[in-house]
Assembly symmetry: C2
């Protein structure tokens, strides 16, 4: 919990995220980004994030997830949420009995920006 990776101060400053096509990633930056991509590299986590971001209000109660159609047990859901949290992609907050999660949109945006590629070139060169 004390160990979250926070790249969003960079995002707020816009020194943030040139597409990988524009400049070679340095090792340190690549490591941070890879940590986030790795967190997305599991179907369950991807669907969890989708659930969270597409929920009304942009947040969701864990009680609406656990025991769902993910075909895994509660602790496993909890584990995946923790991975997403430690990667800096979501943020959790306890409100009374329930825990709510929401996406850290700045970091999602940073990943998307990293993958930005000139579309027209894509057409030509492909």
């Amino acid at each position: 919990m004390s160990k979250q990776l926070v790249v969003l101060d960079a995002a707020s400053e816009q020194a943030c995220c040139p597409p990988i096509a524009e400049a070679s990633l340095d090792t340190e930056h690549a490591t941070d980004m890879a940590r986030m991509f790795k967190a997305l590299g599991d179907p369950i986590r991807l669907r969890l994030l989708s659930r969270i971001t597409s929920a009304p209000g942009g947040e969701i109660c864990v009680c609406d997830i656990t025991g769902d159609d993910f075909n895994v047990t509660g602790p496993t859901i909890s584990h995946h949420l923790k991975v997403l949290r430690e990667a800096g992609l979501i943020d959790g907050e306890r409100r009374g009995t329930w825990v709510y999660y929401r996406a850290v949109k700045a970091n999602m945006h940073q990943l998307a920006a990293l993958l930005a590629i000139d579309e027209s070139v894509a057409l030509v060169s492909a």
Copy 2:
């Protein structure tokens, strides 16, 4: 005309790519996307992809990579290139002695689109 298709191969499987914030991912789609994200979840692979996409002409010769500043042996580079290739993120071609790789930009674009999020909200909520 220059803007539409883009997702060529992926498009043949299904309609391309609504952001995860707009609709919950179904299991099958999530599995496909997760496979690509997982391939990006390693610093070396991320830097390899960066090298490839940022190279002049959009492609790079393996001979310019192996034994580089990645601090791993040749076979390990080869392994990572294979992972990227099997994930559909890059494409390799042998031309005489050397092998050249280039990015499959359509799939990179698909990933970026999946992560698209309303930016203004991102800044506010961060």
